[in-house]
Amino acid sequence: MLRLMEKATPSSTVILLLLFALMPFLAPILGEAFYVDVFARIMIWSIAAVGLNLILGYGGMVSFGHAAYIGIGGYTIAIFSFHEINNGFIQWPVALAISGAVALLFGALSLRTKGVYFIMITLAFAQMIYFLGVSADKYGSNDGLNVWHRSHFKLGNVNFKIDDNITFYYVIFFLLLLVIYFTRRLVNSRFGMVLKGSRSNEVRLNTVGIRTYSYRLTAFVISGVICGLAGVLQANFEKFVSPDMMDWPRSGELMFMVIMGGLGTVFGPVMGATAYLVLSEILSSFTIHWHLIFGPLLIILVLYGRGGLSGLFGKSND
């Protein structure tokens, strides 16, 4: 696996991954234990960004509603916890399954449209999920829901807990690597080729008998499941969920992270998420008027940062 990643990854990727791996040790040395939390969050968002990039970067499907799947994953955990079912072996598969099922439903309908209509319909579906969360009075509605206990994995002799922040940090790290690896394999396979091809040559592909719709839908579902996973991790990490996590500005932020990293590269979204969150963190600690700087920065990025950070670091586009 390491060889596969090394082949097309320049040193910047390795450095970032090393940074993630070592942060729990670095943070106390730097005197800021808080950084472990910051980076755990960065990794969770990175997972979501990698998920979105699969369809946005590779498939050219601009989904403006992927925060909904993060929310679905998160709320499933929170609702289970509310009903005192804390076993991760039950919670996690169900959360991922529901994310996938909803992605299947929404994707099937949305993929019948194109262009800006696709953007709008994915947005609409996400808002519906948001309002569903708001109307769920039993599960907190706007106030959100506290997740009092993190998932624990109990089956037979296995009794694995993620209550310890450092342990959980490495679980997240491991899952991030897993998601990156899986995505890499996927985009470099025949499936990936069809996906990339369908971005611009849909007609041609259909002519030779490849039903691009089912490939794109499959990719959409996979991406929904990956975002669902991010939601599961977020609910466990923050120990709190609320409808805000599914609102459309969250989807917008996710898109920014993907763009920032450079579309259509496997590792790009990770760099994008890191850059976006670190930048927000730094700027917001300087002044409460930080949007004054952040806004134009994002605009400049959209206009001139075509290759994103990956392009900046000389990564090959694959």
Binding site: M120, V134, S135, K138, M255, H291
Partner: protein, 307 residues
């Protein structure tokens, strides 16, 4: 249930739709004719509201406040177009969404620095501030009727502009085939500027009209923005008529939902849940409608002719 309650709720829905229409009209024009997804439309709406508020307080007259605020908002829109938006015309829609998203962050903060974090209230002249006795025993806020009146006038004006004037013809030509139109000597740049200006004024007007009800607030644009996009997709992008009908539909659905849905739900759910679910579900209904339109008739209910 009394008929006058029903009619009054219908009026409420209609009035809500009018406010939405004023905002959506500019949005659909810009989107349909210039192919620009402009999330910062809401920021122009907000600036219009604040400008009118300040002017009304200075000049001690709401009408004068609006009259002077309109050209100022137009100016603001033009400056915005020149500095920030020209560069993204040629970009794909995602880029436009993201760039204007960044613009929203910036403008919200700018307004905050200029006008402070609190909202600004606009006092209405006594004539508009009371209620009117309507037939069927309905007592209705004068100002809301005023809004309906303005909305209808603007709708008629826009229809006349686009369908019956030369400018309107140029607009329609530029929309359907930019290259051909400019080959025939139409200055597309200037045309787009004119359309954008019109859209900005409409957004500003919408903001000015809603401010006496809800105050000029930071972030007020985002509250209405997504709903407006939903409405113009349902109506048909670029279609004023579609925006009008879809806005009324949205306003009526939302109002009727809030008015009567909880009664329906009380039959099915415990009272706490019904009271909360009612308003939230009626918000969802309009999104469901848009999804249905996109799946079955993606060009919208009333797509612009030949567009």
């Amino acid at each position: 249930m009394d008929i006058n309650i029903f009619v009054e709720q219908l009026l409420n829905g209609f009035q809500l739709g009018m406010l939405l229409f004023l905002f959506a009209a500019g949005l659909t024009l810009v989107f349909g004719i210039m192919d620009l997804v402009n999330l910062a439309h809401g920021s122009i709406y907000m600036v219009g509201a604040f400008t009118a508020a300040t002017l009304t307080l200075w000049l001690d007259s709401f009408i004068l406040g609006i009259i002077f605020a309109l050209p100022l908002t137009l100016l603001f829109g033009m400056v915005l177009e020149f500095i920030a938006l020209r560069t993204i015309y040629a970009r794909d829609h995602m880029d436009q969404v993201l760039a204007t998203f960044g613009l929203i962050l910036f403008l919200n903060e700018l307004v905050r620095i200029i006008w402070g974090p609190a909202g600004l209230a606009i006092p209405l002249p006594i004539l508009l501030d009371g209620s009117i006795n309507l037939p069927l025993g309905i007592v209705y806020p004068t100002y809301r009727l005023f809004i309906i009146l303005i909305g209808v006038l603007v709708a008629i004006g826009l229809y006349w502009l686009v369908a019956k004037t030369r400018l309107g013809m140029l607009i329609r030509a530029g929309a359907s085939n930019r290259v051909m139109a400019s080959a025939l000597g139409v200055n597309i740049r200037l045309l787009f500027t004119a359309v954008f200006g019109l859209g900005a004024m409409l957004a500003g007007l919408a903001g000015m009209l809603i401010a006496p009800i809800n105050q000029a607030q930071i972030g007020m644009g985002e509250e209405i923005l997504i709903l407006a996009f939903v409405v113009i997709v349902i109506g048909g992008i670029g279609s004023i008529r579609g925006a009008f009908i879809a806005s009324i539909l949205a306003g009526v659905i939302d109002t009727m939902g809030r008015a009567f849905l909880d009664v329906l739900l009380l039959a099915l759910l415990p009272s706490n849940a019904a009271e909360a679910a009612g308003p939230a579900l009626s918000s969802m209904l309009i999104y469901l409608l848009m999804a249905a339109v996109l799946v079955f008739r993606p060009q919208g209910l009333f797509p612009p002719r030949g567009g």
